[in-house]
Amino acid sequence: MDVNQPKQEHLLALKVMRLTKPTLFTNIPVTCEERDLPGNLFNQLMKDDPSTVKGAETLMLGEMLTLPQNFGNIFLGETFSSYISVHNDSSQVVKDILVKADLQTSSQRLNLSASSAAVAELKPDCCIDDVIHHEVKEIGTHILVCAVSYTTQTGEKMYFRKFFKFQVLKPLDVKTKFYNAESDLSSVTDEVFLEAQIQNITTSPMFMEKVSLEPSMMYNVAELNTVDTAGGSESTFGARTYLQPMDTRQYLYCLKPKQEFAEKAGVIKGVTVIGKLDIVWKTNLGERGRLQTSQLQRMAPGYGDVRLSLETIPDTVNLEEPFDITCKITNCSERTMDLVLEMCNTNSIHWCGVSGRQLGKLHPSSSLHLALTLLSSVQGLQSVSGLRLTDTFLKRTYEYDDIAQVCVVSSEIKQS
């Protein structure tokens, strides 16, 4: 048997071509003026070129479609499309042709053929065509396995396969970061801000059609990526709707716990699921891709046993003039506490009133409000520090420093 020529023994030929979107043909127009040496020759040549836009020949981006010129890159979330053509190269009729296209990934094997039925016969110079589509869901090596079986006129059963290997790459780099807007002055909720940086790590520009945060059941989300103007809302990214290769965009979302969870917000502990980012992009001529991140998780800030948060505080105060703040003290522990409040002066902050006063018993998950008066002896941005709570049952002291900042100005300035 002659193994040097195995191909010739096959009557059918299998050809596969990846179908990325076609591209628009571009010209490189070179123009000159009438008085230059070539006169109007350059312009005339451009007019005669069928690929130029008539009436505006100097536009580089024409209307002529060209087929993909190479396999290209394929990215996670995109759709892999491929043309599979089985052509009868021989001069005889071939029967019972079965073409099978499978995609082998690292974890599974998928059948991509549109139909699994055998074609009864294929005349010489005819072909069986199939266009397969598959949304790529895995990264790494993929192998397209095309198998063709058929029967020759003599009844001989023939079979051959071809493997096409390609790598699926990652199109985006996503980084996230959480900010806890700890129940500050608004006191109502514990808002969480999510900052997501999305970077285009492909080699072509990418139009971001949708980047949204799908919150988990505990949260409502507000997208902070538009600015409301008179004419409606405007994207914070302006007219630039696309990402150049390696460009990064920063999206911001504000998450608020839903009412039923907000009640317990003060005592939520541990890891919470925030939600996931859903990203839809398009590239050349609407080639689409879609990805989701995994569930984004965040460690709820631990508040210890007793949480002290500020309800009200002025932003600007006069030097050496007393001002009021309201604190909220929440018992985050499982037991009842009996609290004593101590107020320690710092270099700049001086507390007014009696230190060491009894606050009384505080049951688990309950809170109390406390109005305090203090003054600052130093100008500038001053940090409110020096509160101490002692649980007399356990003889445990909790320290609260840097609770908030106030801007201290001299009274003349404030009045003027």
């Binding site: 030929a13 230059d36 690929s51 100097t58 479609l65 974890s107 001989e156 806890n180 007219a239 460690m299």
Partner: protein, 787 residues
């Protein structure tokens, strides 16, 4: 650039496979006794390893047809065809692949007994290979594998950044549930993100600015991704994102080729120049120019100067002093006092010529503002006419041909190779020898699309001007003619996509501002004439060139400096001054600087189009103001830009504007435009059937519309109708080969031929013959994919 076509023949002798040499087919093993079923497998690697396999074509097991093989090389990355190439590098991988696939296949129950035999054999084989190279399916994901495989993917992922701190990304439909939880830690006490996390600036409005950065998480723990993540090439090559490496496979067209000039220079010229100036060229036609002795030419040219009656140098249009660059030829390495030489030719001062040179039209066209330094030199030349002016050699323009002869006819070469000598003899195109050695011959070559020959002819004519091969760096003197010749030569090089060559020859011109490029530098040759000799088109060309070489920023810089000068000229004119700011009496009707400068702004803007879509759209809008008659075309153009980036919605908006704009007009042209846009929109929505319908609509109105024909055919292919698609394209080409043998059409046609049958070669050769009849030597033969 060829993808690896790895072939594995299951009947290969195990020992030969294990040896790593697959250059020859091994004799059949004992198992291969069955004749019933021919079991033939190929493994084709489509991955990013195209770039390292130049030499692989030497290895082939069953490529019995040399021609076929060539064919593969051209197209390998798109069409995976029957002629596999092999490479030693991949034998190891092959084994593992083989096994992987066979394991998969083992589950197939449609396997006959003979196949089972084979299967056994295959597993034997892969075991053997396993000993040789420890790559096995089970190890694909390991680090070891990653490092082994790294070289095969590193080109493809060259531009991937270091994947440091990322949230794992997964596809929506089925994987979200199974992903392992991330190790995101957010604790109030953590004030710093993990070390590899780039800290995002902390907003101070939040009382707790803790950052929790997600830990790197792999998409699947199987390790396929680890190849990407760990490849060292990630970290090393991040800095060149915009500059698209021409070798990097890019499915969508590179941004660097978007638009060209948005100016119709015809309009410009006809607005301004009467036929008198337009034809005011002096052609130096030198029958000896083809001689390879430039020195001789130079002296000849020198001798002929000043006497327009010299038969060797017919001066056609009667501007005697422009007949040659006399002074330069005497200048030797060290610059001599300029005016001494000039003085010799003082006699040529002709009042008529002076008047002519000072004509308004010339002034307007040549107007340019030199830099301060250059201006000083020019002033000193003007004021010290009879004493010595020394000019630093650095400040002189000393161009010369950088390459001797690029002439060649690729079409003919291909014919020789594929169709034989006899066929090739029939190919007759004009070349630099077969035309008059003058501007007339040059124009003839350009219009017959023999641009390579035209480049050569420009070279010869420049040689006659003493600026020939290897003359770069030698002092030269410039004339209107020599600069026009340079412009044509460089423009043609750009048209031929020979950007590097163009850049090399542009280099001695610097920024086109050296004193010897101004008329004032040659007070005796061009008495009274002012301004720059450099054609404006050449400045544009100079500015646009870098972007074709992957440096759009430089293009932008150059265009900006042009724009500044243009704006300055405008300002001067508005203040009643001459273009260069000098006090001159310019009649009101001659102050049409605005008109004259109009295109400058378009050009200036046009380059933005090449890499910045937002600016591109801006530019289109500004062009529209000046050319309202082009509005529908320009709006469609903007729509297509958005389509190209994938912003379908905005594209649709612009296409709607086109429909509004064309609503008033009812011409065939606008009707076609509307249909074309609708078709493109459907294309963007992935609806090839509808797109095809609209392209076909256009053909009903205008059956000879090349674009619609071609695009309809392309749509058919995406609909799985290869044969119909081919029929459409072939029909169109046969109908009017004169018109439709366009590069893009031919490319599509040959691509489909390759997809259609193993006998694409004959069909491509037939196309070559058709091309040979019509096209000149500037035809881009690559679109035929003949190798």
């Amino acid at each position: 650039p060829s993808s690896l076509l790895m072939l594995s023949d299951p009947r290969r002798d195990p020992s030969s496979a294990a040896s790593g040499s697959c250059a020859r087919a091994a004799p059949p093993g004992p198992q291969q006794t069955q004749e019933e079923i021919l079991f033939h497998e190929e493994t084709i690697d489509l991955g990013g390893d195209e770039f390292e396999s130049e030499g692989n074509e030497t290895v082939s097991e069953d490529s019995n047809n040399f021609v076929d093989k060539l064919n593969e090389q051209m197209m390998e990355s798109v069409i995976i065809s029957d002629s596999p190439n092999n490479s030693e590098d991949d034998t190891g991988e092959l084994g593992c692949l083989q096994e992987m696939v066979d394991q998969m296949e083992a589950k197939d129950n449609q396997k006959s007994q003979t196949e089972v035999d084979k299967e056994e054999f295959l597993s034997n084989e892969s075991e053997t290979e396993h000993e040789e190279t420890p790559k096995d399916i089970s190890e694909i994901g390991t680090d070891d594998q990653a490092s082994l495989k790294e070289e095969s993917i590193q080109e493809a992922v060259k531009e991937e950044p270091k994947l440091g701190n990322n949230v794992s990304v997964e596809t929506k439909p089925n994987n979200s549930g199974e992903s392992t939880p991330e190790h995101q830690i957010l604790s109030p006490s953590t004030t710093k993100p993990s070390s590899e996390a780039e800290p995002i600036p902390v907003c101070t409005i939040f009382s707790q600015a803790n950052s929790a950065s997600s830990q790197p998480q792999l998409f699947l723990p199987d390790g396929f991704e680890s190849q990407m993540v760990k490849s060292p090439s990630f970290s090393s090559i991040i800095e060149t994102p915009v500059k698209s490496n021409p070798q990097v496979v890019q499915p969508s067209p590179s941004l660097s080729k978007f638009f060209g000039d948005t100016v119709n220079t015809n309009t410009l010229a006809s607005d301004f120049f009467d036929s008198f100036t337009t034809s005011n060229f002096i052609s130096v036609s030198n029958p000896n120019a083809s001689s390879s002795v430039p020195e001789q030419m130079a002296s000849l040219s020198n001798g002929g100067d000043g006497s327009s009656s010299n038969p060797t140098f017919p001066v056609q249009n009667g501007r005697p002093e422009a007949g040659g660059p006399p002074s330069s030829l005497e200048i030797t390495q060290s610059p001599k006092p300029f005016s001494q030489i000039q003085a010799v030719f003082a006699g040529t001062d002709d009042p008529f010529a002076t008047a002519l040179n000072m004509s308004e039209l010339d002034r307007r066209n040549d107007a340019w503002i030199p830099s301060e330094e250059t201006r000083n030199v020019l002033i000193s030349v003007a004021t010290q006419q009879y004493s010595a002016v020394f000019i630093d050699k650095e400040n002189l323009t000393m161009p010369g041909l950088k390459f001797d002869n690029i002439q060649g006819d690729a079409v003919k070469d291909l014919m020789l190779r594929f169709l034989g000598e006899q066929a090739a003899v029939k190919r007759q195109v004009l070349n630099a020898n077969s035309v008059e050695q003058s501007f007339v011959g040059l124009k003839q070559l350009i219009s017959s699309k023999n641009w390579r020959a035209a480049v050569d002819l420009c070279g010869r004519l420049l040689t006659a001007h003493g600026q020939g091969y290897k003359k770069s760096g030698l002092p030269a003197s410039h004339t209107t003619d020599s600069l026009q010749l340079w412009f044509v030569r460089l423009a043609l090089l750009v048209k031929l996509n020979l950007f590097q060559s163009a850049e090399m020859e542009f280099e001695p011109f610097g920024n086109l501002d050296q004193p010897d490029l101004y008329y004032e530098y040659y007070p005796n040759v061009y008495p009274g004439r002012k301004g720059s000799m450099v054609p404006f088109s050449m400045r544009i060309l100079h500015a646009e060139l870098p972007q074709y070489l992957g440096n759009p920023q430089e293009s932008l810089d150059r265009l900006h400096s042009m724009k500044i000068i243009c704006a300055k000229i405008l300002e001067n004119l508005e203040q009643g001054l001459a273009e260069d700011g000098s006090m001159t009496n310019i009649a009101q009707e001659n102050r049409q600087g605005k008109f004259f400068l109009k295109p400058f702004f378009f050009f200036t803007k046009s380059v933005f189009l090449l890499f910045d879509y937002v600016l591109a759209v801006d530019a289109y809008h500004s062009v529209m103001k000046y050319y309202p008659q082009q509005e529908p075309q320009l709006l469609s153009g903007i729509g297509r830009i958005f389509l190209q980036i994938g912003d379908i919605k905005t594209a649709e908006k612009y296409f709607q504007d086109v429909e509004k704009a064309t609503h008033k007009l009812d011409g065939l042209q606008s009707q076609i435009m509307v249909l074309m846009n609708r078709a493109f929109l459907h294309l963007g929505q992935n609806n090839f059937a509808e797109a095809h319908r609209f392209f076909t609509e256009i053909l009903k109105i205008d059956s000879s519309n090349a674009v619609a024909n071609n695009n309809a055919a392309v749509c058919l292919l995406y609909l799985g109708k290869l044969k119909d698609s081919l029929r459409q394209l072939e029909g169109m080409v046969q109908q009017d080969p004169q018109h439709y043998l366009h590069e893009s059409v031919l490319f599509n046609l040959t691509t489909m031929y390759e997809l259609e049958s193993s006998r694409s070669m004959q069909k491509k050769q037939a196309l070559l013959e058709a091309v040979a009849i019509k096209e000149g030597d500037s035809f881009n033969t690559q679109c035929l994919k003949l190798g």
